[in-house]
Symmetry: C2
Subunit: 165 residues, 2 copies
């Protein structure tokens, strides 16, 4: 029953096939179906398909090189002025929704962390014209998978505390 | 295709039917299938089914009263000493996975925010014996749904920026 959740894996190699506009819209619908504190929805999404922009973006993180092969990035951003305490949690839930939708639709992606590293946030904001006080939280590298991975959990009983810690 | 994501809604009313141990294990498998930065998995889960403990927990947040009817809470916790920069994001992704699994399995739940509010974090840690430096991020109120809600997105084109902001 929870197979679609276990099937989501980080996919870092892609074919050259583009992701279509209707597919991109589905991914954004999934993102904006996430819960948020007091339903404030403190999120924005920058959709990047331009080859040159993706290539430049790939240089801003130490493990972002797969963006050079990806036909699509969705940059999930948060607005702390809408929800100072919970924007990171809310935007992370939206990000996970998008990643699960990607997997359900036969696409592949990997979550590249941006916030809170200033050396990633600064150049990403400048490249994409993201205004203050908006923060880019997660850069998603997305495409059609050129690698296969098996479904899995990483269940660890040592992380489970029953009744109390 | 993304219907299971749109079908997840916040459910705040429950029947008296308990959630079984195999169901709880499935939820934790879903949580621990989430991605995490550098795969550090900075999460812990406290599983609460004791009536008295759930009743006391319900008093610690301004909108936590539905815990009085819930047969189960999973308290998702993070360990900042494992991943100082990304534990909130990673644990939020795990939380969203659990919420989606709950919905897929015909259960219902609502995400109650704990971190970073000290007036919620302190009493929750004390009640459940959560040691330093562990932080309770999210308190999930879980049960069999006694209310129905339709699937939906909250898609808003105004939050989408194509090419650049």
């Amino acid at each position: 029953m929870i197979e679609p959740i276990l099937a989501r894996r980080s996919i870092r190699v892609y074919t050259e096939e583009p992701v279509t506009e209707p597919e991109i819209t589905k991914l954004l619908e999934a993102g904006m179906a996430a819960p948020s504190a007091s339903n404030k929805k403190p999120w924005h999404f920058v959709v990047v398909t331009d080859r040159e922009t993706l290539d430049r973006l790939s240089e801003y993180g130490s493990h972002w090189q797969m963006l050079k092969e990806a036909p699509l990035s969705i940059v999930v951003c948060g607005d702390p002025s809408i929800s100072e305490k919970y924007w990171v949690q809310d935007c992370s839930a939206a990000t996970e929704n998008i990643l699960l939708a990607i997997s359900m639709m036969g696409l592949g992606a990997v979550w590249l962390g941006c916030h809170p590293r200033p050396e990633r946030v600064g150049p990403t904001k400048e490249l994409l014209g993201i205004p203050d006080p908006i923060e880019p939280l997660a850069v998603l590298s997305i495409g059609h998978p050129a690698e296969e991975k098996e479904a899995r959990t990483q269940y660890d009983e040592g992380r489970v505390h029953r009744g109390r810690w």
